[in-house]
């Protein structure tokens, strides 16, 4: 079934008979997928090319992934997950702003933007891929953001009673809107504008 839904870690798997899976092949496939992905997106990326470029048989790819979408998903998660963390210190609103800025900065780099954009596009006609993207990439960041918003409300940085989910939609939605539709640039200033809109006073946190 492949690894669209994660669990792609390659463990020693003690005691199983037969030749073990080649970690070298796996890495080569993911690297090839990243390298060959241009702005032509997933449709411009062929499994044959990935196989050839990785020095791997096509059958090996299909043994472990259901298709190129799943390969790219693994390649993306593998490369990007560590670079979009929330910062540990600071007041809640600042931490939220910093993480948003990290996302924005990452998406300015083609090597991160391209796979993400390709996966969102592919997700529109591939429900499995869409679900995988939500579960493996979106969900955890969203949970963290929701917690920060709750904290910011408690700290008096945001009005009580606002809909945290709608707020998250607006902040990340604005980024993704520029990314996917308008093509406008994602600058640090822009992120600051967004935060200002939802927290007009820009008040410092109330001391606890």
């Amino acid at each position: 079934m492949g690894s669209v839904r994660g669990m792609d870690d390659i463990a020693p798997e003690q005691g199983k008979p037969g030749r073990p899976r080649s970690e070298r092949a796996r890495q080569a496939v993911l690297a090839a997928a990243r390298e060959l992905l241009t702005d032509k997106g997933l449709p411009g990326l062929t499994v044959d090319d990935i196989a050839a470029h990785a020095g791997v048989s096509k059958a090996t790819i299909y043994r472990w992934w259901p298709g190129k979408g799943a390969v790219l998903m693994d390649a993306f998660i593998d490369a990007v997950s560590t670079k979009m963390e929330f910062p540990a210190d600071g007041d809640p609103l600042t931490r939220l702003r910093i993480q948003l800025a990290r996302v924005a900065r990452l998406m300015n780099e083609p090597r991160a933007r391209r796979p993400f954009v390709a996966l969102v596009a592919a997700g529109q006609h591939d429900p499995e891929l869409a679900a995988a993207l939500r579960d493996r990439f979106i969900a955890s960041r969203r949970d963290s953001a929701r917690q920060l918003i709750t904290d910011a409300v408690e700290a008096g940085q945001l009005s009580p009673g606002l809909d945290a989910d709608a707020l998250i939609d607006m902040l990340y939605g604005a980024l993704y809107y520029r990314l996917l539709i308008s093509g406008a640039p994602l600058t640090d200033d822009y992120v600051s504008h967004l935060i200002e809109i939802i927290a007009p006073a820009a008040r410092p946190p109330r001391p606890a």
Copy 2:
């Protein structure tokens, strides 16, 4: 070169020699594209199928459109442009909310959501299509929204000094985020939540 960038109206074109373009064929192609577009999106829609279903030759399609993306673009604009207008009456913020709600309601209907989502997805690896979508669909609505926000600020419904473009990004971005990424429902209540977030007081317009 096709009509990706608009100007697809079919005028009598007085006095031009040669057999005139068949309006029947054009309509049949657009209708077929709409009908055959499932959730499999553009990749699941084939030019051969459109041609067969429309009772039209493939060559006729390629004579007038550069590819299936352009066909779908015309079909979408043709069908949807009149249904997302801004209302004529009411205070600025209300008019903005109503139009947002119209967009939300339209995108709940598969026959409008599917082509839009497919076009956004295809735009990720087809710059011409992305530009056409911006120019023919996004731009004008964005201009109207920007004017309404300016009016709302003047009327005292929104804080002065806020970045109108960032605000638009957030409102529409939130809708499109749900549409393209989270899959969460687009309800009227949701739209109201969005408006409340950016206009917390929900104050009535200051009389002029």
Copy 3:
């Protein structure tokens, strides 16, 4: 039905209503067919090209000829018929040899060889064309040759009792064999060799 079987002469046709057929167009079509015919043969010659090159509408071509084969047939007959006559003077065998040499020499020129070769090829899957080629080109020359052979027998230049048709087949067959299959050159010497084989003694005609 067109003119595959001849009768392409264009008469004044007194008193017929309507615009008369354009002799200019007819000539332009035939000329274009000749000029555009390369060694790619009939399949490499398109009706659109002929029409464009002749400054004539495609419809005009289809009005007067059933297809490009018929056009080429007319073009070939029109251009070549006068150049393969039998000489008027000399003893029968010499006259036969001279006409054979004329055929050989003509077929060395691309502008005559190409249409002929193309017509023979097309005739293999187009019985009408094959019949037209026989009736309009082959038959009359064959009749003349048969008469000459009869005369040569009477004159003692050829053995009595030989099968004139088989002899014609051999002489022209040898030429066409080189033309169509082996590609070997058609020289005057070669023609002389052929005559020598069937008239070994090469005796002069017996005086009458």
Copy 4:
């Protein structure tokens, strides 16, 4: 690159990696080509039809042959090469006559005549095909015939000093002329007439 120029034998090819070529597919393609070839010739034979009829993919055909002409060439050689041998016994002239009669008889059968005629026709606008036909079919038979003529001269059955190549052109040219141009029948008697013309005395071989 295909097999227009022969060497189409399919050997076990020990130890080559990858899935071996399917002999079943190859045979099915050749058989389908033969069966679908009507008097409409090569132009009336489509690659799609061959593929469908052979239960084979179009891609497989294009993988191994450059086009339908090459397929038909293989099909023809494959089917016919064993049926046009020269006899082993008899005096040289008789052996020549018998082989000529075999050719004539074979060409009376549609299943042999059609591909041959189609290949000659196609060869007129496809130099590769023409060369392949010469090299793989014509050449060897011509060599044998030349040897027989030399032998016949030595045996006193033919006049010394005649041009063997011209003679071959005449004999086979007469057959092909009837086949390709005049459409006259190819009977055993006709073959005998041809031999008589070039060996008037029809003398038995001089004992060695």
